[in-house]
Point group: C2
Chain length 343, copies 2
C-alpha cells in the first residue's frame, strides 16, 4: 500500500510550503501502516523535497528490527538530525530556495508586514491582551495547505499519510499535527478486536488537531455501523465541542477517512474480493479539497474528482458522503477503491 503513497503528489506540501518566522521552510510529515501498525514521522525538516519519503523510510527501517548493538530504530526524527538521516539513507538534499515558490515568498512578506503592524499596535496598549485573544486567523488560506492520503490495497490493508509545510509565520522548530502520532494520520487494519480497517488523514490548525488527537479519535469512531453518522458525531464531540479546545474561539480542521471491511454481498465476479470500502470527509474550515482516484488501469488514466465546499459564518460541519455524489451504493465505491494501491 505504501508504494501508492510515495507516488502521490506530495510535492504540494514540500515545494511551496509556508515560510516560518525566519523565512525558512520546515516541513512535517508522517505515515502509518495499518498492517504492521508501524509509524514514521519527521518534524521541522528542511532541505528535503519530499518529507513524506523520509517518514516512509523511517517506517520501513523500523520494520526491519533493531540496529547494531541492540539499539531501537527511531520512529520520529526532527530538524537537522532528520535531514542528516535522510541523506545518509540515500534521499537527496534539496536547497530551500528551490522549495519556496513566488506565492509563498510574497505571502511571507505580506504576513511579516501584518505582524509587525499588529505588534506595533500592541505595544503600550491596554487592548494588547484582547487583541491577542480576539484577532482572527488573518493569515488566511496559507494556513491550510496540508496534503493527506488514505489508501487501501486489494487485500484490505490500509495506510495513511500526511505532509504539511505548517502554519505560515510559525516559530522555527514548531512541529504541527502532521508529524504527531495519532494526530496527523492513523491507519489500523481490522483484527480480532475491531471489525473495520480504517485510515484517517487530517488537515487544519496543528495545535487543534494535536490536542484533540483527531486522527485517532476519528479512526476509533469508525467502528460504529453508520460511518456517516459516526464521523459527524466524532467531529462534533471530539473536535468542535472537545473539552481540549474549550478556550479556542474557532476550531479549524478537516479529515479524510477511509474504512473497509470484508463484505459478503459483494459480487465475486467483479474480482473485487468482497472488499467494501467507504470514503468520507468532513471539515470545519471554509473549504477543503478532496480528491480520489483509482489506479486500476495505469498511472496516466487516474480518475480523480475535486470538490470545493464553501461554508462561511460560524463553525459548522460539512459532511459529504461520497456515494451521494457518485449516486452509487457501497459496492460502486468498493470497485473503485479496491484497486487503489495496485502497482
Amino acid at each position: 500500500a505504501l508504494v501508492e503513497l510515495e507516488d502521490s503528489p506530495f510535492t504540494n506540501a514540500g515545494t511551496g510550503s509556508n515560510l516560518n518566522l525566519s523565512g525558512e521552510i520546515e516541513c512535517d510529515a508522517s505515515v502509518m501502516d495499518g498492517k504492521s501498525l508501524h509509524y514514521g514521522a519527521v518534524g521541522a525538516i528542511s532541505g528535503i523535497k519530499n518529507p513524506i519519503l523520509v517518514a516512509n523510510r523511517l517506517l520501513m527501517e523500523a520494520q526491519k528490527g533493531k540496529l547494531s548493538a541492540g539499539r531501537i530504530p527511531p520512529c520520529f526524527l526532527v530538524g537537522q538530525g532528520a535531514q542528516d538521516w535522510a541523506v545518509s539513507h540515500g534521499i537527496p538534499p534539496c536547497p530551500s530556495e528551490k522549495m519556496a515558490t513566488k506565492f509563498s515568498l510574497s505571502a511571507y512578506k505580506r504576513n511579516k508586514r501584518k505582524m509587525e503592524l499588529a505588534e506595533k499596535m500592541d505595544v503600550g496598549h491596554n487592548e494588547a491582551k484582547r487583541r491577542r485573544q480576539s484577532s482572527g486567523n488573518e493569515n488566511g488560506s496559507g494556513c491550510l495547505d496540508t496534503v493527506g492520503a488514505v489508501v487501501v490495497d486489494l487485500e484490505g490493508n490500509v495506510a495513511a499519510a500526511v505532509s504539511s509545510g505548517g502554519l505560515a509565520m510559525k516559530h522555527p522548530g514548531r512541529v504541527g499535527q502532521a508529524a504527531h502520532y495519532g494526530c496527523g494520520c492513523w491507519a489500523e487494519n481490522a483484527n480480532d478486536m475491531i471489525s473495520y480497517s480504517t485510515a484517517v488523514s487530517t488537515s487544519g490548525c496543528g495545535e487543534h488537531l494535536i490536542r484533540t488527537m483527531l486522527a485517532r479519535e476519528c479512526s476509533s469512531a469508525m467502528q460504529s455501523e453508520d460511518a456517516h453518522q459516526a464521523l459527524l458525531e466524532a467531529m462534533q464531540n471530539k473536535f468542535i465541542s472537545s473539552p481540549f479546545l474549550a478556550s479556542e474561539d474557532r476550531v479549524l480542521g478537516g479529515v479524510i477517512v477511509l474504512r473497509c471491511c470484508r463484505c459478503v454481498e459483494a459480487q465475486p465476479s467483479q474480482n473485487i474480493q468482497g472488499l467494501l470500502v467507504e470514503f468520507l470527509w468532513s471539515h470545519t474550515t471554509e473549504s477543503m479539497c478532496v480528491g480520489y482516484m483509482s489506479a486500476q488501469d495505469s498511472k496516466a488514466k487516474v480518475w480523480s474528482s475535486l470538490l470545493r465546499v464553501i461554508h462561511r459564518g460560524d463553525i459548522d460541519i460539512n459532511l459529504h458522503f461520497l456515494s451521494d455524489v457518485l449516486c452509487g451504493g457501497m459496492c460502486k465505491l468498493s470497485s473503485l477503491f479496491s484497486h487503489l494501491s495496485q502497482p
Copy 2:
C-alpha cells in the same frame, strides 16, 4: 500545581543525560495541565539546563491565547528553534559540556566501542539480520533515566510532567515519548464525563511508549473503580500484549499514576477537603525508582520514599499499591497527597 513541577529535581534529566550518536545531549520534555488540558513540549533540545522549564513556559504562553496577527502559539517546539524560543523567553542557555557528566561521557565511549564492534561483526555475515533482531538491550541502564512527576493540588487539579535525555546512542534529532502528546505524560481533571482526575507519567523505551500511547491509555483505564486492577490490565492489554508492539521481542516501560476524586467519607476535621488520592506504579523494566513527597510543612521537611524493585527474567509486571507499603488506607494516602502542591 505547576509550581511544584518546576521545583521538582528535574535536573537529573537535563544534566547527565545520555549522549546521542554524535556525542551531543538532546533532551525531550513535556508537561500537561489537567485543568486547562493545555500541553507544552520540547523535543531534541540542546543547550538548556532544564528542558521542562521550556515545556512549561510553552504551556503557559499557549494559555494566554493567540499571538500577534492571530497566530496560534506553538505547543511543541524542537531543536535549535526550541532553544532560540527558550532564550527569547528569558530561559538562559547552558553549554552542553556542562550538562554531560563523567558518567554519561564514559558510557558514551563504552557504547560507541560496542556499536563499532557490533557493526564490524555484521559486515558480510549472514547473521546480520538475526543479530539486528535478537541482540538485547545491551546499552543497559543508561536507557531508562527518564524522570516524571504527577501532582495534585488542594483543589484536586492534577498535572503531569516528564523529562528525558532519551536513549543512549540515539540518532541526532530523535524524539522520544517524553515530548510526545499522550505518550510521555497525561493529565485530565474530572468533569461531567469522567469521575476521576488522573495524571500519568511514563518512562522506558520511547518508541514502545509512543506507539502504545501509554500515558493516555493508562489515564483512560483509571476511570474504573478498582485502580489497582485497572492499571494491571492496562499494562497487560495496552502495552505488553498490545498489537502495536507485536513485532517487539521485549517491551520496556514504566508508569506512575495518580488519581483522585472528591470523597464523601474523608474526615473534614483533618482539613483535607474530602480529596481521595491514589498513587500507583507499574513497570516491565528491571527496576524503577519511585518516590513521593508531601510538601505540607516546608521544602526542607519533604517526606520521601524510594522503592527499588528488582525483577529479572522474562517480561512481567511489578505492580505495587502504595497503601500496601504504607499499611494505610486511602485516607492515609489522601492526607499525604492533598498537600503536594502547596507552595
